[in-house]
Symmetry: D2
């Protein structure tokens, strides 16, 4: 209930602060007999890790995962998979300047109010560092849900919006550039914008789009655990996310029912897919697609005015190595959370597949 466990049958218990000994987790409920591709797991971690390109934070963290249990001879055993990633580059001295004041639009203030103290060495538990544990579990979930394919990409940075629908994009080109936008021209413009913003010591928001293909029909548990509701919660649990929409989303509001309805083909597929692959909370076999809005990162490398614990006004200045825009590194996190939801709902649906 304290919020560090995700999922129902495929469950991740996550732990770890940015400046503690290690982060890690326990995956409970992964079925036995899954042959793991460890390179793919590390590859997703590398896509998330700091320092991977010039447009992200320049912190260096190797982010190597150690598995402690649940795997024997390269396969899952059905028992819980414990894992840890040791923190090797903590530099807590970088954060001394924030020990006595609250950073605007950070979680400092509310953590202090809720827990009666805070780990001032950095973001602590509110740091995006915890998402590395999500990526490990998500990378395993991806392998479990195959042949489902889950691909995310950056579709907006600031005002720069990629309007091309996903079906007209080459999703294999996502990793061809640092910003992870499959349109090369747009990618280049986005990178320029991020570099410009970084030079100003400022940050900028963005949108990550995600597509899930080869989805079996029937995933989703009405009424409170609709598939898109759980996907939405999963995305909104990622740091800095401010919005989620799937299928026609907010734009669908403007449509009439006669335009929006997806007519059936004779095989049960639909001619259009405004529904985004989900009807009544249950997958209908069409592609699932959704968008996730990320706010601009709160940490600026600029002077700012804020308050200390006693409410006194203080002048301070952001330091350290931070992301000017979070979305390039958020791409594998969005995929990971999507994969965990799909794995969980695939397992939940077994009781119906085995019905009487």
């Amino acid at each position: 209930m304290a919020g560090n466990i995700f999922g129902n049958l495929f469950r991740l218990s996550s732990y770890g602060e940015s400046h503690g000994e290690a982060i890690g987790g326990v995956i409970d409920g992964c079925p036995s007999g899954l042959e793991l591709d460890f390179e793919a797991i590390q590859n997703d971690l590398d896509r998330r890790k700091p320092g991977q390109s010039r447009i992200v934070t320049q912190r260096k963290e190797p982010d190597e995962v150690q598995f402690h249990s649940g795997i024997f001879e390269g396969k899952t055993t059905g028992t819980p998979i414990g894992f840890a990633i040791y923190n090797t580059n903590q530099k807590s001295q970088d954060y001394g300047h924030i020990k006595d004041s609250y950073r605007p639009s950070h979680a400092d203030y509310v953590y202090d109010q809720k827990y009666g103290h805070r780990d001032y060495r950095g973001g602590g538990r509110s740091s995006a560092r915890e998402t590395a544990a999500r990526v490990v579990a998500g990378a395993i979930a991806k392998q479990l849900v195959a042949p489902m394919i889950i691909k995310a990409y950056v579709s907006q940075v600031g005002d720069l919006t990629l309007h091309t629908p996903y079906s007209e994009l080459d999703l294999n080109a996502i990793e061809a550039n640092d910003v992870r936008c499959p349109d090369a021209t747009m990618a280049s413009a986005m990178e320029d914008l991020i570099m410009k913003v970084r030079k100003e010591g400022d940050t900028i928001g963005g949108v990550v789009s995600c597509v899930i293909q080869n989805v079996p029909i029937g995933l989703g548990e009405p009424v409170f655990d609709k598939l898109h509701a759980e996907l939405g919660k999963a995305m909104l649990s990622i740091n800095a996310v401010k919005g989620f929409e799937y299928g026609s989303g907010f734009a669908g509001v403007r449509m009439k029912g006669s335009e929006h309805n997806d007519a059936f083909n004779s095989d049960g597929t639909t001619v259009t897919n405004h529904s985004g692959g989900i009807q009544g909370g249950i997958s209908n076999g069409m592609d699932i697609y959704f968008k996730v809005a990320f706010k601009p990162v709160a940490t600026l490398i600029q002077p700012y005015t804020t308050i200390d614990k006693d409410g006194n006004t203080v002048e301070t200045k952001g330091k350290g190595r931070h992301d000017p825009c979070v979305v390039p590194r958020a791409v594998p996190i969005v995929e990971a959370m999507a994969a965990m939801v799909m794995a969980d709902y695939m397992l939940l649906n077994q009781i119906h597949k085995n019905q009487l």
Copy 2:
């Protein structure tokens, strides 16, 4: 796990189909000693019920709730509150025309695929009728979370968008018109649009905005159960919802961090509130506000082409009494789900309020 239970400590188990004997639920975890205002509960049911105005479905259902347990001498006892609303106006004959075919963008097809059959007498469990149980539980939750105030209203119908921020609206004027938009001029235009769409036998989408005031600091459980993540899931679980955003939402993506950050006042409140009252998943005491996008209702009173169970093309026509636009009746549902989340998270936060 089958999706009909909502919440952690304040829990609703909901049941009921549109054409069964009754709908209802069990609320487990409501603390003892809450003096209930039964009129307020019925009032919220009346705001949701069909037939309440000319712009909603003309079905007539009294929607009177019977409480079976958990209340003694007008107060909650701490034991589960069982309740039922009997279905009195089922008219399943109205639905004979859909028995043998799948309605586009309805849940017919996926229910049939998932459960191996369907209750063809109407929407069954996928009908919005089940939301009446949510409204009962939400009305009790509202009383539990007082002095928090939860108010929702219609801010968009089709292309008609109310751009005025909530803080400049008179939230006491929401119930002054049938569409539940606090701006009288806009309300009138929205009602005209809905009547026009109804005449065409068509439907139109809309947006419900919601504001939560007097929120204590500290509600929300990092990292997976962030307060806005649970609010998002709650909203996305409502029929026809396609998107959720809070605070600056999708528009915040275009902002720079220097614009978006909410500077502190000396008392810990913030000058602006782009954060939407939540930092790092935890309430910061400022107003929480969010938007919920509803697609146009799928049921049209127009001829349409679809498929039957064998994949044959059939020509059919929507009949019955349906909503041309769902948002006026969705307002109390949005409030109810918000209230249940706030009640649940208020209780979850007790372990921290009572810390050592």
Copy 3:
């Protein structure tokens, strides 16, 4: 979390007090397509109901269950099954004498302390009346787990103990007498003892034994949710239960490993079954058997001394119609709880049956 929901995938949310409007529940997670035998459900309710024989309480309650949802054309639909049993014979005037005092070894005192008040009209939520909801859900679970067979019987009343192992008893003879002991001679002695105790205005304890046959191999979730751990919790949740043992139980303590170990036959069955059909928390296909100890009912029809709310000593006297011995009516309750556990664990095991 408030304790009125049982199970993981097959879930009962139960509600209701002895003197409220109705008791009932919601079963969520029953797979679709189960053709229900409604007579069997009512039959189990009749086995539990008061007034069924001279050795139980003489209260008369028809205990007829109304199903509100989740069933269509005689089959489960996969949606939640809501049900209610109206209280028709409340006679709360019978309980006026206990309004101002706490009955020894009842839950009056602790309910008052925990919830800040109590429903003095009788046992309220702590009354065994709530077990009727368990019997409804259990009767459905029994049908779901077929061909598993679950049979309970009375094996001890006071000092009268049936030492014959279950395998030498005719389990079809359980219902042949009022006390539900399959040995006719012992049954007769037990009934005499109960009638004697009743005449004294006193009560006596007893033991219910239960056997589960035709169990598939593999049910049970290590490590915390071992099959026998969940069976134990299920039984200990029944009113008046003080102990649970399975297989060799407390007597097994005295054995050496060389005596206790169950040697394998070549087909994987075992020669002996001291294990009680469960190894390491997982069913091994042998019969599961266990015992449940019930204390003597606390309500006596004798004068007694106790305290009132202010701690003053008061002299009072039990009135009303109570069971002199709870075990004859507990037999279907033990079966019901066992059936719910087996249904739940059968569904939980689907993820392993469908492994990669």
Copy 4:
């Protein structure tokens, strides 16, 4: 749902096999601000560890716990506490003899059937090694629930039974001998019996008794999550446990209600305590006491006949270093599970303590 998570608000996610890299866990929901006594944690691990005395297995494992998160400056922070204990003495070669056959009354066979394979290097997940993670979490829970005191001791080994009630024993003498029985004469006899059984290459069962003192009134959630039901499940989840009874237990069956009822003193305490400190599933402030029955360990150092994977009869012989009697090392495990239950229910009860 896969069974490796224990608790509701105070939650342990446990992982690890006997021959893997490490065992460990994540504790989610421990309130912030608890100053930890790390020596007390290690002390409980030392009471559980192999090789501590001549009457337990002679394996040597240091069992040193590393904390990865959730603790800052010696205090809990309210974020999850991740921890690991590395396996340093695995000697999997010891187990080669069991790779191809199933050991009687072990979990080998059912694991293989359930998961489609097994980790033949030892007990794997079914090994009691996993209980070290319980002891870590329990040692923290003990500190959280103070001033509650939780003390367990050995009250029976084979036929040797300590009949003295706990209230007449010196519970501070428990650790004075290797067998952890507070009666020195009985302890000596028990040790002799265990040594005799060991020499025979055999094993023997035992009973652990546990007392919880200074319990606040009101812990326990009716109806399915009664305090003793959760204690029972917690105990039955420990390896080798076959039975649980609390208060008067199985012996109470023989009593009449007039003997069994606990009369009130004017302060709400009771004259006797047959109830074992719990009424209607809720603590009444009196001492809680219960007994846990452990079967004889299945691993014998004797030749035995069993089957291999193909059902062929094979002759084999137990090797390795095993416990002749599990109860001396089970004492801290029983305490740990009891502490976790009490911590969880103390937190669950906050919603009632903070009632309106």
